[in-house]
């Protein structure tokens, strides 16, 4: 059997002849980016053998080899993940309470005693909110006595090593073994984060009694070890409905700690959106508000005088810089802002102030938006030949826009962005139609999600992700999955309230809308 050595990681594995480098890496728990899921199309799993580069997913191991991976060790450190978001004010009335009876402290969950601790520990009472995103995890420790967030940390969701997007992850977990793998790597990561955070906050993990899991429906299935298979097949049914409690035995908190799962709206609109609705108080607003989480799933909620309709759109990973030639996550080296000045010169901003090595989602939208605004990219999305600009040059016989000599945007990249923004835009159009609303009747657009926070309104309008009628009405509300999760933690009354709100939301399945195809095609242009 040939042997593969991963030089940077100092790990070795004997494999059967013909195993791919990617398969070997996964067995060793080495993270290689695979947004295309090993189809050989995205080029993100590049590795070096000798002086040659290969794609790990396509390179079969037939002899002893030594492989050099790109060092991603620091990615978690420089990655920009937003942990805070707009929140609602709430009265402090947590589910967890403690009472010292002169001898021991009793910990209550609601009205029932969960357990007792010796001595007076009533002053030490903490909870955790976890936003389980497909790509990122955000964990925060909240002081349940003061209502304050003490510390928070974010990192990449380790499940993406095994399967990048939601559907591949459902597929991976559709047998018992796969589900176990994905649940365990998540639990391990959460325990690690809880460990470092509690150390940082100088508290004992034993004094953490409740964890609120915010996240999309599929991630919550995986986190709770529930078979996600039905989510990936029509009629796309969620196996859990939220508004329920699980034991937290696998998590490194108090032995009688519990997990609370906020209400889940549907298979593709999860508890993260319920948390968002809570944080934005959408159900109490008199105005007409469109709430959008711009990400891989593009979930959105339209609120008209407190009546809510929700849907999700398959935007794909382009907004996260995936499936884009020079795309990358929002870490050091990523072009995150870009504009073309009146004199034709360009300005851009790189995360970390370093040399540009790629483009992240916000940069992509800025670049595309500016090129559309200048008429370099036409209505159909094609690089036009009428207008020219510095940076628009040929590469391998095709027109490409160069931001720097190494970082550029291709015609096919523009197509990926069109598909992603077309999906979101057609979701908006469908929701408005369903609620009989004209675009100008929408008073406010709230863009949520850690990714959304880095976007700017002008670009969203220029590329037509949002219609022109929304100009001047856009606010960025941040990671409301996190802030809404905190609200659930701090006031137990929200739990019954949101159970009602979630059950009354009109759930729209876009695939069942007969006009969807027409709307989608019409939404692709700029």
């Amino acid at each position: 059997m040939p042997e593969i050595i991963f030089a940077n990681e100092q790990k070795t594995l004997s494999v059967t002849n013909g195993t791919t480098v990617l398969e070997a890496a996964r067995q060793l728990g080495i993270v290689l980016e695979t947004p295309c899921n090993g189809m050989g199309t995205c080029g993100k799993c590049k590795i070096k053998i000798g002086s040659d580069y290969f794609l790990a997913c396509q390179k079969n191991i037939t002899e002893n080899i030594t492989v050099f991976t790109e060092n991603k060790e620091n990615e978690n450190k420089t990655l920009q993940i937003l942990s805070g978001g707009q929140s609602c004010s709430c009265q402090l009335k947590p589910f967890i309470s403690k009472q010292f009876d002169g001898e021991k402290t009793v910990v209550y969950g609601g009205n029932s005693a969960l357990g007792t601790e010796s001595g007076d520990t009533s002053k030490s009472c903490y909870g955790i909110t976890v936003d389980i995103g497909t790509t990122t995890l955000v964990v925060a420790i909240i002081n349940l006595s003061s209502g304050k967030e003490i510390v928070s940390e974010s990192r990449l969701n380790p499940q993406s090593t095994y399967a990048q997007d939601v559907l591949s992850r459902i597929h991976f977990a559709s047998n018992h073994e796969g589900l176990n793998v994905l649940q365990n790597v998540l639990i391990d990561a959460l325990n690690e984060m809880i460990g470092t955070l509690s150390e940082k906050a100088k508290i004992s993990t034993k004094n953490i009694y409740e964890i609120v899991y915010s996240g999309n429906t599929a991630m919550l299935h995986l986190a709770c070890g529930i078979d996600p298979k039905p989510l990936g097949q029509y009629p796309y049914l969620s196996q859990i409905h939220g508004g329920e409690y699980f034991t937290a035995l696998k998590l490194n908190i108090s032995p009688f700690g519990v997990i609370y799962l906020p209400p889940i709206i549907s298979a593709f609109v999860g508890a993260d959106i319920t948390s968002g609705i809570l944080a934005s108080q959408l159900y109490e607003q008199k105005e007409t508000i469109l709430f959008i989480d711009i990400g891989t799933n593009g979930e959105m909620v339209l609120a008209k005088n407190g009546a809510l309709a929700a849907t999700s759109t398959a935007a794909g990973p382009a907004f996260e810089g995936m499936n884009i030639t020079c795309g990358m996550r929002a870490g050091n080296g990523a072009v995150e802002r870009f504009c073309i000045n009146n004199d034709g010169s360009i300005d851009y901003q790189v995360i970390g102030g370093t040399r540009a090595t790629g483009i992240c989602g916000s940069g992509l939208l800025d670049i595309t938006g500016e090129l559309v605004r200048q008429g370099i990219i036409g209505k159909s999305g094609r690089f036009t030949s009428q207008k020219t600009i510095d940076g628009l040059r040929e590469k391998d016989g095709k027109k490409v826009f160069f931001v720097t000599d190494d970082v550029y945007l291709t015609q096919n990249d523009v197509r990926q962005i069109q598909l992603a923004k077309g999906a979101v835009r057609s979701g908006i159009e469908s929701l408005l139609m369903k609620m009989n609303l004209k675009k100008e009747e929408v008073n406010r657009i709230e863009i949520a999600g850690s990714f959304g926070y880095h976007l700017n309104e002008k670009s969203l309008l220029s590329i037509g992700l949002l219609p022109p009628e929304f100009e001047g009405k856009v606010t960025f509300v941040g990671n409301t999955a996190q802030s809404g999760g905190t609200a659930f933690l701090l006031n137990v009354d929200f739990r019954t309230k949101m159970l009602n709100v979630a059950s009354e939301i009109q759930k729209i399945e876009l695939a069942n809308n007969e006009n969807f195809e027409k709307i989608f095609v019409a939404s692709l242009g700029f």
Partner: protein, 222 residues
């Protein structure tokens, strides 16, 4: 009319398809019919050639989904005019039963494939979305189809496609149909693995795949 001008008309027709100029394409088609030129050849080289070029442009990213739709429209309208000039009823190139596999309700890509196959002269029976293996097989038998074309957008429903092939084998009908697969998560390897007869990456490739397959079939029949 000399051979040269006939060829020129076909080239113009082909260019009109590429330029997505429906009016011009219809105008040229009408002239071709009026002048008694070879309408069958106009469909094959003029419209067919135009579509092939559009396919290339799509693959390099120059053209996009809306362009494909307009081109297909242009071809269909021009073909309808050209068919009135055919000496005999046009032979269908073949019969295709197509649909999105059960468990999946995404059908925009599948619809574009149907449109292109239709424009290219195939008879297409579109079974829609969330189609069971039984329905694929039963309809193919009932309609005496040559090809069963199965699509999916989701990784989670890829494996369902194999059930169509398994059912054909179980019912001893595997040799009666060629099974073609496609859709975003599908690859050539996957097609080989489930023992499908062919895979196409996009609508234009699908036409080419079917053209090759059908011509091989017909050759064997002879």
């Amino acid at each position: 009319m000399t051979e040269l001008t006939q060829q020129q008309f076909f080239e113009q027709l082909s260019q009109a398809v590429v330029d997505q100029d429906e009016t011009l394409a219809e105008k040229i088609a009408t002239i071709i019919v009026r002048n008694g030129l070879d309408c069958a050849k106009a469909i094959e080289t003029g419209l067919g050639g135009g579509m092939a070029k559009v396919g290339q442009l799509y693959e390099t990213g120059e053209y996009f989904i809306p362009d494909l739709l307009v081109c297909a429209d242009t071809v269909q309208n021009a073909a309808a005019i050209l068919r009135t000039g055919l000496l005999q009823n046009p032979l269908s190139k073949g019969r295709v039963v197509l649909g999105t596999i059960f468990g999946d309700t995404h059908d925009i890509g599948k619809n574009i494939v149907a449109l292109f196959l239709n424009s290219a002269g195939y008879e297409v029976l579109d079974l829609g979305k969330d189609v069971s293996a039984h329905l694929f097989v039963d309809e193919a038998v009932k309609w005496n189809a040559d090809i069963i074309a199965v699509s999916t957008l989701m990784t989670t429903t890829m494996k369902n496609i194999k059930e169509v092939i398994d059912l054909l084998v179980a019912e001893n009908k595997r040799n009666r149909f060629r099974v073609m697969v496609g859709g975003k998560p599908i690859s050539h390897d996957f097609a080989t693995k489930i023992k499908a007869d062919g895979y196409a990456n996009n609508a234009v490739q699908a036409v080419k795949l079917l053209d090759d397959t059908i011509s091989k079939l017909r050759r064997n029949e002879r």
